[in-house]
């Protein structure tokens, strides 16, 4: 019943007070991903300058895991060269969340990563399994 170990304060904090929440005007890239199974939605707008993510905002709705994961992701992305962002892995995301994500919730946690990979890099042929499908 150690629920606090799961919904750690910083996760709930990111859920309640999402960082970089909102939209950008005339973003260089904008992409949304939706999980119809639970209704989770995450979208991101990017401003790119000289191959670097100068600004990023996210919007969406859904469970604490998907929204906190999106908020954490934007913090990581800001100021990051595109080349580097391309290399973010599933493991990176899970490490940052810092809690043990069960198989059933993996999709929630990885939805923001999917937005980055599919949207910002135009990977249309992604392996759904990589994102917990």
């Amino acid at each position: 019943m150690a629920d606090d170990q799961f919904y750690r304060d910083y996760i709930l904090d990111h859920f309640r007070h999402p960082r970089n929440y909102g939209r950008l005007e005339n973003p260089d890239i904008a992409h949304e991903e939706y999980n119809p199974l639970c209704g989770d939605l995450v979208g991101m707008d990017f401003r790119i300058q000289d191959g670097t993510i100068e600004d990023v905002r996210f919007h969406g709705r859904g469970c604490a895991i998907s929204q906190a994961s999106a908020s954490l992701m934007t913090e990581r992305l800001k100021g990051m060269p595109l080349e580097e962002a391309r290399k973010i892995t599933k493991e990176d995301v899970l490490a940052e969340l810092g809690i043990e994500i069960s198989a059933a919730r993996l999709k929630c946690a990885l939805l923001p990563l999917k937005v980055v990979k599919v949207g910002a890099y135009g990977l249309t042929d992604v392996d759904e399994e990589e994102f917990g499908s």
């Binding site: 799961f6 639970c38 604490a64």
Partner: protein
Amino acid sequence: MLATYDVEALRQDFPFLQTGVAYLDSANTSQRPRQVLEAMERYFTGFNANIHRSAYRASEQATEAYEGARDKVRAFLNAASRKEIIYTRGTTEGINLVAYSWGRQNIRAGDLIVLTIMEHHSNIVPWQILAREKGARLAYVDVDEQGLLRQDQFETLLQQGPRLVCFTQVSNTLGTINPYREMTASAKAAGATVLIDGAQGAPHLGIDVQETGCDFYAFSGHKICGPTGIGILYGRRELLEAMPPFMGGGDMIRAVRLYDTDYAPLPEKFEAGTQAIAEAIGLGAAIDYVQGVGLDAIHAHEQALAEYALEALSEVSGLRVFGPPASGRAGVISMWMDGIHPHDLSTILDRHDVNIRAGHNCTMPLMERLGVPATARASFYLYTTRKEIDRLVAGLEDAKRIFG
């Protein structure tokens, strides 16, 4: 609740309940009593052989147990003949069998198929596929604010002379018990063929298919204390006789020649290949078990639980509860908590050893209609206790504390 209903005694029969988990997901799949596991075990250890095909004693014993289970199902549904009882993998396969075999033979371009907005995907998708293939039309009966089917709409649709009417006996999301007898009578009077999805009805209410007068009735073993991998399609004999086979293969034939085949009589015509033998035997034991407890007693127990739960949940602030009052519902309660996604609720409840379903319950059109992406659903069965409902409420309060 009946004075004689001893839920604690019944719970002793269910191995998984001994883990101490409050299992409130029986509408998803039920627990199975040791009587069912033992019936399967007896087959595996005592007369483990294929059925119908061989002439030695183990095979005959297996055939007898398998066909004996069919007789139990016939009696359970009060079907007129054992030929009307077809083994399937579950409700989904039963409905697909009707869509493929009866549907492709009988549905024509322009025909109307009436469904309801509370249907499970299994009672929607096969009809979408059929309608697209044949150029038929689908129409849906809506629900009112209480979660009851709009009977006025249903009557209006019947006036259009639908070829087929399909609806669920009990909603797996709202818990609504539909007036299935009256709806069947109206639909039959309008000349329609009627299929009832009994996945949630058979385990909790049962049915008398002759009295009801439906043409098809499908249910799953795994929701009625039976094993996975087995289910039943009841079909009126006259219809089944006229239908082409669904799958082709062993056992559904009378004679196979190189370029044509004579099919077997009912029910084998629809049972191609080696069947789920152990599972059919287990289903027979499950029917025995459920009938031993008594459908009336089960329903009374569940309705008392629903009343208790609706009362307790009404005290939880910020919680929206869907569906009708306890008197018109089975032991299924779907909820939405402001500010907490059902997935988060489910995860927190799991940490309290309370198991509920979070998601769309395979009823996405209904979710859309209710205006929520998903719900948290608690569902009860013959072994559910008030104490488990108390644990659910405590878990919900804790979730509010964490997210508060």
